[in-house]
């Protein structure tokens, strides 16, 4: 017959079990933190790695003879640049039969004609001279230069045949192929060809939309908060406005797109795909953020400040504008930061008002068609060509960098506002 263990042993076992639960909860929690941040870090790493190919661009140095018979000095815009590019490409392989000239031209980006035209129009003195230009290589050759093409694979299963590869290898041996930093990513407009596609249009569109958004949502949001906090002491109107703002803050962004489509585009007849409409939609979307942040900041200003103002005979507006608002400025700037982050990164409502159109030109006005950074990322990441996916990843990095920069500026401003107290 076995006897029960003595009571203190049983108590020890129970204590150990209770201690073990405690240790496990702590470990699970630490694991969750590490898992969440680690996964986010992995995603960022994946994006950075994916963007690496887009940071550099393979170029081929071509000597173009700007023949005055093809491009007249009096009217360079009407010149036959296509022929000049064809001759320049053929001259890369002087001993090849003329039948292969078009194959040689395929090494260069199809946008080479446009690049050469811009170069000559900018500098008409070039007419009649020889111009050595580093032209971006076409997508498949860019992949080849990066060793992303399996040379052992059967010819039918790759885009370039053996002759193409031999031709490119000869250019490499001639020292004409180089890899340079891809400044075109920031300064070019969008294009069908990944090697010359850039973010200039998207960046301009985003900047315009953001400026319009802030110009609308900051004054209106701050005014709404002032009315709510400083002027209307808990009457029915303020309760309705406050509940309404809280509700608007949680409306899914895509519904603002439906609103913009129905009201701004269909009803007011404003142009689709324009930064103007995008900015207005984003302003409505970020308005609750500004109102909530501003009213929090106003409520945090001590009552004594207001009472001191009233005591020396200031009117309510003088108290608010001269004393309360300057003290609430840091909190209002926090709201502005949140609004900027929200407006710059949001794509869903912009899809519905056509900001994901294919636009190659950089917009010059707020009513011209444009894209924005997030919608451009969406466009590129859905494209089947490998070059575009890398560019989408690089565009995400540009978006994140501009978010960090804008937040940094706002944090600095807040610091200065806080010091002035």
């Amino acid at each position: 017959m076995t006897s029960l263990p003595p009571p203190d042993v049983r108590r020890d076992a129970r204590r150990r079990r209770r201690r073990a639960v405690d240790v496990w909860l702590r470990r699970l929690g630490a694991g969750a933190v590490v898992f969440a941040l680690g996964l986010a870090g992995l995603m960022l790493t994946a994006i950075i790695v994916a963007s690496l190919p887009a940071l550099t661009q393979t170029t081929v140095r071509v000597d173009f003879e700007i023949d005055p018979t093809l491009v007249s000095a009096t009217d360079p815009a009407a010149g036959d640049f296509r022929a000049i590019v064809a001759r320049g490409a053929a001259a890369l392989f002087p001993d090849a039969p003329p039948a292969e000239a078009s194959a040689a031209q395929r090494i260069l980006t199809p946008a080479a004609t446009r690049i050469l035209r811009q170069e000559v129009l900018r500098n008409p003195d070039l007419i009649g001279r020889r111009l050595a230009l580093a032209v971006p290589a076409a997508g498949p050759y860019d992949q080849l230069a990066r060793d992303h093409v399996d040379r052992q694979a059967p010819e039918t299963r790759r885009q370039l045949d053996d002759a193409d590869i031999a031709r490119f290898d000869r250019l490499t041996a001639d020292g004409r192929v180089a890899r340079s930093l891809n400044f075109g990513l920031l300064f070019n407009g969008d294009s069908r060809f990944p090697e010359v596609a850039g973010l200039a249009g998207a960046i301009t569109g985003s900047a315009m939309a953001l400026a319009i958004c802030l110009a609308i949502c900051l004054p209106i949001g701050i005014a709404t908060a002032i009315l709510m906090v400083e002027f209307a002491p808990r009457n029915r109107l303020t309760v309705v406005i406050e509940a309404n703002v809280n509700n608007l803050a949680a409306v899914p962004p895509i519904l603002y797109g439906l609103l913009g489509l129905a009201v701004f585009i269909t009803c007011f007849g404003l142009p689709r795909s324009s930064p103007l409409v995008a900015g207005m939609v984003l302003a409505l979307m970020t308005l609750p953020t500004v109102v909530i942040a501003t009213s929090l900041a106003l409520r945090r200003v001590p009552m004594a400040i207001r009472e001191a103002g009233f005591a020396v005979g200031a009117s309510r507006y003088q108290v608010v504008l001269h004393h309360v608002l300057p003290l609430a400025l840091p909190g209002i700037l926090t709201g502005a930061i949140a609004a900027i982050s929200q407006a710059l990164g949001e794509a869903a409502p912009l899809l519905l008002i056509g900001m994901n159109a294919f636009v190659t030109s950089v917009p010059h006005g707020v009513t011209e068609a444009a894209t924005t950074l997030p919608t451009q990322i969406l466009l590129w990441s859905e494209s089947p060509q490998p070059g575009f996916v890398a560019r989408a990843a690089a565009a995400i990095l540009v978006l994140l960098a501009s978010l960090v920069a804008l937040n940094g500026i706002a944090v600095l401003l807040r610091h200065r506002a806080e010091r002035r107290r």
Partner: protein
Amino acid sequence: MPGSLILSTLLFAAAAFFLGRAAARPFGTGARSRPVYHGALLALWVALPGLAVTVAWALAQPALLDRLLLAGLPAGSVDAIGTGGRALVLAQIHALAEGRALPHLDAVIVEAGARLSRWREIGRLALFATVAATLLVSFLVARTRITPRLHARAAVERALTVGLVVCASVALLTTVALLVALLRETVEFFRLVPPAEFLFGTNWDPQVAFRSDQIAGTGAFGAASVFAGTLLVAAIAMAVAVPLGLLIAIHLVEYARPGTRAWAKPALEILAGVPTVAYFFAALLAVAPAIQHAGRALGLVVSPNSALAVGLVTGIMILPLVSSLADDALRAVPQDLRQASLAVGATRAETVLHVLLPAAMPGILGGVLLALSRAVGETMIVLMAAGLVATISLDPLGTTTTVTVQIATLLAVDAPFDDPRTLAAYALGLTLFVVTFGLNLLALRLVRRASRTDAS
């Protein structure tokens, strides 16, 4: 043109401000208001009539000119073709007036086009003259009223109050406009498709109804399968975000050293600020292929855009929201409760599980509901699964579709505004609005109750 007029009106008003302030300076202490207010009042008196004239003119002129144009056309040439023809004729005249050349036009219309561009020129000059006169007259009239006895401050503050009310009404108008836009199109949609069929029908194939030989609403707009996909994605997201978020909050509030908390909390806040398009891209690039590989290793067939991948990434996106709201709720539990529990010998884990979590439950639930509403309304991440046929299936490894994706894809084509597909997008939008509105209302009430018990 109105833009530059508005700008010059504002410049004129700025000048009026300085003039008014200078005029009030000599009043000294005898004046009822300070000079700044005299200047501001003068500027308001100048700017408001000027702006009102410009805006009213810009709104009225096109309609007035159109009516004059139609009246100027020979009798019978337009009436015969009805309203549609009238709009066409007007469009042709407008195109001509803007300098576009159109072939094969009636001489009457060509002549009308020339007349329109002449009228527009006259209108432009007349508007300019009217605004200039308004500015000048209102300035002169207002200037005579700048006296020491004028209660300028009270008048300026009255105007400011009107301005504040107008600004505050924008938020209200947004809600009203949103509701009106959604309701109007949805009512239109329900005329084509009965509501019961939309809500409970399982056959979702919006492209079919576009065919001309088919009557819209023969069962192609049953959105139940779309709702099912949305729920599936949201459920997976919540299954990821709620346990992880709670564990993170418990760890950061109860266990982590202050040093760890100091960097982990801002890191989570940064995560909350990352644009969703970045999550979308990471999902497309890394997470979905990883899940597909893992599934293949286990001998499962996983679709490249599986609901699992979409839900997982959505869950990671809402994770910071859950953890920060749970963090707030846990820290709002009175310190007495925590200390009493520890004092009677409970371990940290027992304190958390038996005392803190029950006390913080309303706040945590509110956070979870807010996160659920975010997950349901999320568009960008679920766009990965776009363009796919909706079927009722709760298989997390297959593809799926959600309400937001269907809205985005239905409106991606530039269809006419009364197209059933466009209307269906608004009906889906209204459903989304109602669901998220309910969730938010409940969540805000729970969070508010949680913070009230904390305050008492």
